[in-house]
Point group: C2
Chain length 727, copies 2
């Protein structure tokens, strides 16, 4: 089928003194929007072009005059000192040690004895304020009546005197003497007014700009550097930087109780999304999200009043915007743009509701780290497009784009060609499938402590970065993001309050014991386990990956609280006396049909054993790694880990269909070669077969009713066919 040459849906960056070349690229690529690049202002000549002009806009940084005149408005966060051991009855804590003093500075202005906390970690007790004193000149706290060999920490309120993204760019690119941008807090009325006035003035002064690309709003995700100017702590979802004294006071008014520093420091874990969120933390997130939505709406309204569109970048100062939360719709944004690194991050953007359009900013960024002599930007662009494309087939972003310095990209003709290809292919896909419901073989619910609020966000620490203790679970997200299934994110509270939603065929619980993703102590709740048991027994599926339903140290005699559903448990070390006769592994099984063994479990999970009536599909070293278990009319399936790979995506699909007892429908709009996938659009009468690799692939495509056709695909090809096509 011929691809229709279209234009549009493409945002490209600009550069200085590059007008003519930019025009050529606009034509070549079919771009319909231009954005400014970091540190450059859009060439006013661009106004003449028939494109939309985007400008980044920083709300809470880049106005050091204001920040310096209103020092009380500087943003703040709670930080914990090192753990210091008393060797006598007095101990001094140098709480700024190992922090980057160009990024943070203690807030001595608001009484530390009221707003800080000194904790005896060994006794799990707050040290009375009368027992510690402060030496601001030394940035130390001295504790009296200390208990020898107890470990102490100081939780101190620190001013964030350097915006983290700006700091990162400055340090990475060696900007030398460029002044550090100080972030100020919209919580303060004077800051709020300044922010609003500044935006209004800017809007009036920039009539040619069509789209205000907020990068982003008020509060940056937590990114703290150490005294060696290295990353010390990063949480792309971290709310640490939203706190302030007025915020604490407002919280008490709104929620009716007072938060303490430990509600933020959280044993030094700072409410990582891997932590089972406390009641206090959930309340705090809600409080901030409500506030941020209200404040963002004010700015968006200004943008609209100026006749422009308001777009938000998903990242940087995005904390509190909660695109999947209850208040996002109130903001009234026209669009969200975000960085696309793979299928998961594509869906993270494309599934956002309550905006007119979404935009994916693709990679590579036009920057010297990739665009240098000997570099291979095409390889990176291919990797990016191929991983994102399968997610686009499920739910497309409305636009794509690139960022960086256009001059750099222009020096690589092959890359320019490839962008042309990506843009054309994207537009063709979009024109065919936008607004059309894709075929989905089943509906899966990803079950964890967060649910919908953290749609496509499980396991993220730093956006796009790989972690040893995450990748064996993240593969589930990456697989689901591009598969022919409907995905919902459910919380334990959803289940216990309303039961498992009727459209769910299979639940997945994936993650490490005790984390928010596996669930930890949530599994102590009888309402949770009984609801799931009854639902599985009624004929549904439960897939557990890693340490599902696990309570560290066991609870009620079990590690996995749903061991009876899964048909496996994890030896915690207490039941070596109990003989566990393992069923002989089954020779063949639907779950591993056609897969190359041994399977790849990533870091895997150890010491899991099967019950006598469980089917063991894979085992080694006296551990089971893939099992199936009948439970009532339903099934429980266990897998030790799922790092992403094409085969593992196929395995996950099998797990879900098998657990849901829909294996007979598995080979519908399905391709046998795991390097290929099928996306079907019955309402549009179309389906596509995708080659997700840069090598030729042959595959057998099952359409419906058992019909199959052999297909040979060129590297990276997407082959469209009409559903009623006669073979």
């Amino acid at each position: 089928m011929m691809m229709t040459k279209e234009t549009g849906r493409l945002t490209i960056p600009s550069d200085t003194d590059f007008l003519k070349e930019t025009q050529e690229l606009i034509t070549r690529w079919g771009a319909d929007a231009i954005r400014d690049s970091d540190g450059t202002k859009l060439d006013t000549g661009l106004k003449q072009l028939a494109v939309k002009l985007y400008s980044t806009y920083f709300v809470a940084r880049g106005y050091n005059d204001f920040a310096e005149k209103h020092p009380e408005t500087v943003q703040s966060l709670y930080l914990m000192s090192d753990r210091i051991t008393a060797t006598g009855t007095t101990v001094t804590i140098p709480f700024m040690a190992h922090y980057f003093d160009q990024q943070i500075r203690p807030n001595y202005r608001d009484d530390p004895h009221e707003y800080w906390e000194v904790i005896d970690r060994t006794a799990d007790a707050v040290v009375p304020t009368t027992n510690w004193s402060l030496l601001p000149d030394d940035d130390t706290v001295t504790i009296r009546q200390a208990a020898p060999y107890h470990e102490y920490t100081v939780s101190f309120l620190a001013e964030l005197i350097w915006d983290p993204t700006e700091m990162y760019n400055h340090l990475t690119n060696h900007w030398g003497d460029v002044p550090h941008q100080i972030p100020f807090d919209v919580r303060y009325p004077e800051a709020q007014q300044f922010i609003r006035d500044t935006l209004r003035r800017w809007l009036a002064a920039n009539p040619e700009i069509d789209v205000v690309r907020f990068t982003t709003f008020f509060y940056h995700f937590t990114l703290i550097f150490d005294d060696q100017e290295r990353e010390k702590f990063v949480d792309w979802l971290g709310y640490g930087g939203t706190v302030s004294v007025p915020a604490l006071k407002a919280f008490e008014k709104v929620k009716g109780y007072r938060l303490r520093p430990e509600d933020f420091v959280d044993d030094g874990f700072y409410n990582s999304s891997y932590r089972v969120p406390s009641r206090h933390y959930r309340d705090y997130v809600d409080f901030i999200a409500r506030f941020v939505a209200d404040q963002a709406k004010i700015l968006v309204d200004e943008v609209h009043a100026a006749g422009k569109e308001a777009m938000m970048f998903l990242g940087d100062n995005w904390i509190g915007t909660e695109p999947y939360g209850p208040y996002f719709k109130d903001i009234g944004l026209d669009a969200v743009v975000g960085s696309v690194g793979n299928a998961t991050t594509l869906r993270l953007i494309s599934d956002i509701p309550h905006v007119k359009y979404t935009e994916g900013r693709f990679l590579p960024y036009f920057f010297p780290d990739v665009f240098h002599k000997g570099g291979d930007p095409v390889a990176e662009a291919k990797q990016n497009w191929l991983t994102a494309r399968r997610a686009i087939m499920r739910k497309p972003v409305d636009r794509i784009g690139y960022g960086g310095y256009l001059k750099l990209a222009a020096q690589f003709p092959d890359f320019v060609d490839y962008v042309t290809h990506v843009a054309d292919e994207f537009r063709d896909i979009y024109s065919k499938i936008h607004g059309v419901k894709p075929y989905a073989g089943l509906t899966v619910g990803v079950l964890n402590a967060w649910g919908k609020l953290r749609t496509w966000q499980p396991f993220i620490v730093a956006h796009g970065k790989r972690y040893k203790q995450a990748y064996s679970y993240e593969g589930v997200m990456e697989a689901l993001a591009g598969q022919a299934v409907n995905v919902r994110f459910l919380s334990f509270a959803d289940i216990t309050s309303q039961g498992v939603p009727k459209d769910i065929d299979v639940l997945i619980n994936v993650g490490a014991a005790g984390t928010a993703f596996s669930g930890g102590d949530a599994w102590q709740d009888p309402a949770l386990v009984t609801t799931i048991r009854a639902w599985v027994a009624a004929g549904h599926g439960f897939v557990g990956i890693g340490e599902p339903s696990a309570i560290p140290g066991t609870w009620a005699g079990r590690t996995f609280q749903l061991a009876d559903v899964l048909g496996v448990d994890q030896e915690a070390g207490f039941s070596l006396s109990t003989d566990k006769y393992q069923p002989a592994p089954v020779a063949d099984h639907f779950l591993t049909d056609g897969l190359t063994l041994p399977l790849d479990y990533g870091e895997s999970t150890h010491n899991v054993y099967a019950f006598p009536e469980t089917a063991v599909i894979a085992a080694a070293n006296d551990e089971v790694t893939l099992t199936s278990h009948d439970y009532g009319q339903g099934r429980g399936v266990y897998l030790a880990g799922l790092p992403f790979s094409p085969q593992n995506a196929n395995l996950l699909l099998r797990l879900m269909f098998w657990a849901a007892k829909k294996e007979n429908a598995f080979q519908t709009w399905y391709a046998t070669n795991p390097e290929t996938e099928v996306a079907a659009y019955p309402d549009a009468g179309l389906y596509a077969v995708l080659n997700n690799t840069s090598a030729p692939q042959t595959t057998t495509v099952y359409t419906t009713g058992g019909q199959q056709v052999s297909v040979s695909l060129a590297p990276e090809e997407i082959r469209w066919e009409r559903i009623d096509h006669e073979y």
Copy 2:
């Protein structure tokens, strides 16, 4: 140095119609005692020989007439049914399912509603007795007002109608119709009287017997079979079989509170020694040990009154004898004999206090499983001797012996020769070192929840059996049992009540998180961590192996509560946001000097990371596996696991000397080749170099003051030298 030919210190088994041959073997082997073999009675002709005659004696089984006439005295234990899920508001539990109904039978005689317990495991609640009823004819309990999809268990009092060892022998050897021996409980006055009268009669009827070898006393370790006649549960240290209704009543009188079934069932973990012992369980062990000591003394006194010696077998019905406990001395035994499988089990016997002598029963047992055409009993005997010998050098048993059927052994001339060799070599060692303090480079305290009571017993599940979750820790016991160090077993309570004993140079904490061996929640106690911190800081060493000081799910922000001492912690999944810059591994270190890399950690331990100031000696896959950390004047050393091997024994020695800051004294009475070891006896002016293998070995022996000598040893050789020998 010539070995002096001695005789004695050797017990051999007998056989039927074998008098002349037995005499020859006695002479050949230098045996001075004969024991009966299972199922045979000693040939009365043996009386004429100049040897002591041992007879096994069973106290509480083998008298079915009595047991059948006094059914209330049959022993009992608490067992838990399968976990059964209610699907409605009624649920029936077939509590005998998967138990071996020839071994156990429900005790319906003592009111089940008073002595049993039905537990809703999901709600962690006892089901009121009014809500369940019993159908004895079906061995079922039916629960009303059940909560759907809750799991229920029945803890029932069962009669133990078949002695476990006798059952095991019967089933293994297919004894067919031989009646099952019913164990009866000395707790009952009529049984106590019967036991005493029976012994008295037996003593009078067997004047030729010199040594009564109790095999053993009253209560068997827990060994339960399933309905397929397979081992279902085994705990060589299990107290399950000691319970009875009168025991419960007596306990309440003695300890002042009542125990419930769950105190025995313990979530289905049955107070495994891997469980952190509860207060109730510690009280119960004390209660039983006091009772068993009192009852055993009565029998031992009878034996002494008959002019004989009383010996106890360490195993079988040994529960409550607690050789390392506070009441053992009251029993007044002359001797303990036990099975020797390796160095650990040798020391378990040889270190027993308060007896006149100890005896190790060596392997192989003279039985057809080894002694058959094509079998290799010499290989097994060598393995046994070589592993036991190094422990003998630390603390010898006073006698050795073999068991089984003498005729079988006699058919293997090479084996007969080898036993000659073992006996001669043992006697020679004994004559040289008995009562002489061996050189020890340091004193190590093995720290766990049990302390001295479980001397040499950590990690034992079934005696001599290997477990996937034990061997990576058991290597520590096996290494220590034969090394030139003093070993003490310390409990957390010892530390918190009296501090670390002054003679301790280094503590070892080894085991899995949450178990009694690592310690679990004991580590929440400030007194424990502060005492150890202060002690290490004062210049001592702490060695952590596996998951030392760990609290599952973290506590106070840490997994390892002594992370600050060790300089490492284990990522629990909550702190991925915190960058952990790992120190570059050191190129050379005392700890791995001369060792072959990579090290063998067995199952190893995952996700452990180092602190910046920690020396990383071994790491892989972004995990550290061997580290050292300065703490005050002391050191913390971490190792991921230590399965036994000669190299790992050398590694452990290095860990201890390094942690104790005695590395400069390491090469004293030390052999460089890990397949060889040195044992020195300064008070006797002797030292020995051992080749622990069946291959020739060369080694460099360091004596004192840096003096060294190269030694070439024949396979299995033990080379004695005078300490003042001039080279």
